[in-house]
Amino acid sequence: MSIELVCPAGTPSALRAAVEAGAHSVYCGFRDETNARNFPGLNFSPDELVEGVRFAHAHGAKVLVAINTFAKAGAMDAWKAALANAETAGADAVILADLAVLDHAATHHPNLRLHLSVQAAAATPEAIAFYADTFGVKRIVMPRVLSVEEIAKLNAAINVETEAFVFGGLCPMTEGRCSLSSYATGKSPNLTGVCSPPEHVAYTEDKDGTATRLAGFTIDRFGAGEQAGYPTLCKGRFVAGGKTSYLFEDPVSLNAASLIAALAKAGVTALKIEGRQRGKGYVAEVVRTFRAAVEAIDAGRTEVEVGRLLAGLVEGGRQTSGAYKKAWR
């Protein structure tokens, strides 16, 4: 098969939209702190997952279940239940990050295929071999800090599949190791499944525009008509050394669409689209475009023709090819 497209589904209707738009696989999570997109109103109940898997399989697509937060010491029941529910639903794989959850899955659910979440931040042959040998992990979702050349080298040194993010929101820190949200709100993607949780977010309008506050900290201010963004701390504007700037990272989103062929050549098995919190219309549009591009590459069409297919794909705001084309300041 050609390169696999792994697409986001925050709700059952987004799952159906992604499958109908041509996703080879869909990833989703349960409605609790076991997955790293634990936003209010999002995600699946165990029954909805059963129905979603049935729908995806009937259309020839797979379902990967993200159980990718770090379990609480002495309170692992939610993670154990999530693994059992994923297996009962017939999920094709689970995406895990925590050692205890990986161990529990390998011991008690030997038939579940294990993928290593980007949250585990495994980027060296040694780390990857540890997860593969110890728990039987079959695929690694790679941290978004590697260049295409580094991915090619890594793939030559490991014997598991790799999956690379190609489109959507971007975590500029090494995943799983960022404490900005914990510092400001006491909640983090690693433990509670959400960065900069919405109950801590407030937008206030005044004569100068809109101020964005996270847990009482003003992290940005937008003039009328200026593009805003979801207020994750890493993309806030701060004053340091007398200068106002995006201190950690510009508010850009990832678009590595032009690198699909290069990533395939570097040995990547699957391409991942970010956006479980995005609407089904958006998901369907992005999936349809990427599917057409993947097929055009398979059919040996030229780079110009593939580029034309992808030209309409803009997420709003500014985009970057991230670390794939090495350009760190």
Binding site: G10, T11, P12, S13, A14, R31, F39, P40, G41, L42, S45, E48, P197, P198, E199, V201, A202, Y203, T204, E205, K207, T210, A224, G225, E226, Q227, A228, G229, Y230, Q277, R278, G279, K280, G281, Y282, E285, V314, E315, G316, G317
Partner: protein, 179 residues
């Protein structure tokens, strides 16, 4: 502060819509939401505790606004004259056609907010929950009037077609348009 948004209704249509403030819109919408809650309870499970929050929906191009508490079979919608100063857990403001597009999934709520086609204030978590529940609901115009089968399809086709035309006419943001 008077805000103006892209895609507002022309003045003539606003004047024509003015008498809507005197119609029993609130009770009719309350019935529609409760009927919908009976047919698709999963949507309200998704909202969870946020179903008890109040949402003030203010079409920026009309003189009326709607106060909604989407609490399943106890849901309530009130139609208010704009001048009534009302507080709510969440306020969403924007052109009527854009707000309707949020309901039927034509528009992505995130994109609209980030592009400033709508403005929101209040409890962001409640708004995120409502948006996600609506997003999954696959609401159609027929759901609101309780029409099913062939009649439902007819209602959907005419209302969605009509809204599409109206959006083009008023210059509403185009779905997926980042500008």
């Amino acid at each position: 502060m008077a805000e103006h948004f892209r895609g507002e209704l022309p003045r003539l249509l606003r004047l024509l819509a003015a008498p809507a403030g005197f119609l029993p819109l609130g009770p009719a919408l309350t019935l529609a939401v409760r009927r919908f809650a009976r047919r698709k309870p999963a949507v309200f499970d998704r909202l969870g505790e946020y179903g008890k929050c109040s949402f003030l929906i203010e079409p920026s191009d009309l003189d009326i606004s709607f106060l909604m508490v989407p609490d399943g079979s106890r849901a309530e919608v009130k139609c208010l004259r704009r001048r009534a100063s009302q507080t709510a857990d969440v306020t969403v403001r924007g052109p009527l056609l854009v707000l309707l597009g949020l309901l039927d999934g034509t528009f992505d709520g995130d994109a609209l907010f980030f592009n400033r086609a709508i403005s929101v204030s209040g409890r962001t978590d409640a708004l995120v929950a409502l948006r996600n529940a609506i997003e999954d609901a696959e609401l159609t115009p027929a759901d609101f009037v309780g029409a099913t089968g062939g009649l439902g399809r007819l209602v959907d086709r005419s209302v969605i077609g009509g809204l599409g035309l109206a959006r083009r006419f008023t210059g509403s943001p185009i779905p997926g348009d980042p500008s």
